[in-house]
């Protein structure tokens, strides 16, 4: 019965989803509905919006996401090693391996920083 351990998580998800969906439905059910052209416009402090909002944005957001992904993968790779790190029999083996890994990570970080990949200009 492996799934019984995850029953609370699934039930929590179900309760949360039920609550959230009920909230959205309730807000649509109650309350008036008086649409007008001016009200439906995107809010821009009173001025009429010019053009479409979903224009392409600069690539720096993409760069941030890409770097985040790479570091996140490193974190995920380190995680299983870290759980056995403390009690591993050959502690200096674990130490060398983990620190080599982290040193390479630091090399990557220094490279990115040196090339100005972290500048937000």
């Amino acid at each position: 019965m492996f799934f019984i351990n995850y029953m609370p998580v699934i039930l929590m998800f179900a309760v949360a989803a039920g609550f959230a969906v009920a909230n959205v439905l309730l807000s649509a059910l109650f309350g008036p509905y008086r649409a007008s052209a001016a009200k439906m416009e995107p809010y821009e402090c009173g001025a009429h919006p010019v053009g479409d909002a979903r224009k392409p944005v600069v690539t720096r957001f993409y760069r941030v996401a890409m770097l985040f992904l790479l570091f996140d993968v490193e974190v995920a790779l380190m995680l299983p090693v870290l759980t056995v790190y403390r009690d591993y029999a050959f502690k200096w083996v674990a130490f060398t391996e983990l620190f080599l890994f982290m040193a390479l990570l630091v090399v990557g970080y220094v490279y990115i920083r040196g090339r100005g990949g972290l500048e937000w200009d």
Binding site: M1, F2, F3, Y6, D52, R54, K55, P56, V57, V58, T59, R60, F61, Y62, R63, V64, A65, M66, L67, F68, L69, L70, D72, V73, E74, A76, L77, L79, P80, V81, L82, T83, V84, Y85, Y88, V93, A94, E97, L100, F101, L104, L105, V107, G108, Y111, I112, R115, G116, G117, D121
Partner: protein, 182 residues
Amino acid sequence: MNILLFYPLSALIIILSLGVILATNPVHSALLLVGAMVAIAGVFLCLNCEFLAMLQIFIYAGAIMVLFLFIVTTIDTRKDEKFVSSAKFSQASGILLSGSMFFLFFFLALQFVQHLPDTGRWLGDAKGLGELFLKSYSLPFEVVTLVLLTAMAGVIVMSHDPLYRRRSKEASKQILSGGNKA
């Protein structure tokens, strides 16, 4: 018990994946893919691999799909919605490729039916995986970092436009010299 959950989950994954390729809006596609990723985490749970299930959500749903969404914002979605139909050649090659992929996976799956791998024994928990990394697979563990290092260099080279940088620097200099220095 687990096999009973496997079939509805697989059906859900197939439906969501179909939604990914049939949706005309890229953001809808990406979101359906997030759903498929979470459902795949459920399949990992069926195989008693809770660590992999959580990693699936952490990496695929939490990091890769965020990247996809960011990419979507860098393209003009309204314009691209019109290009739904594609040329005859790419359709034919697509059918050919996906057909051969299907048969490949089909025969692979047939192989696994004959001798089921006991994945839950060592992949299920983080500790087993960690000991494997430290003992048998220590070299691949380090080499993976080199791959990621290459990827980092790639990101910098690709997303770094020196022309853009120079222009934006000049612009910010103009703003700063206007007495607006923070």
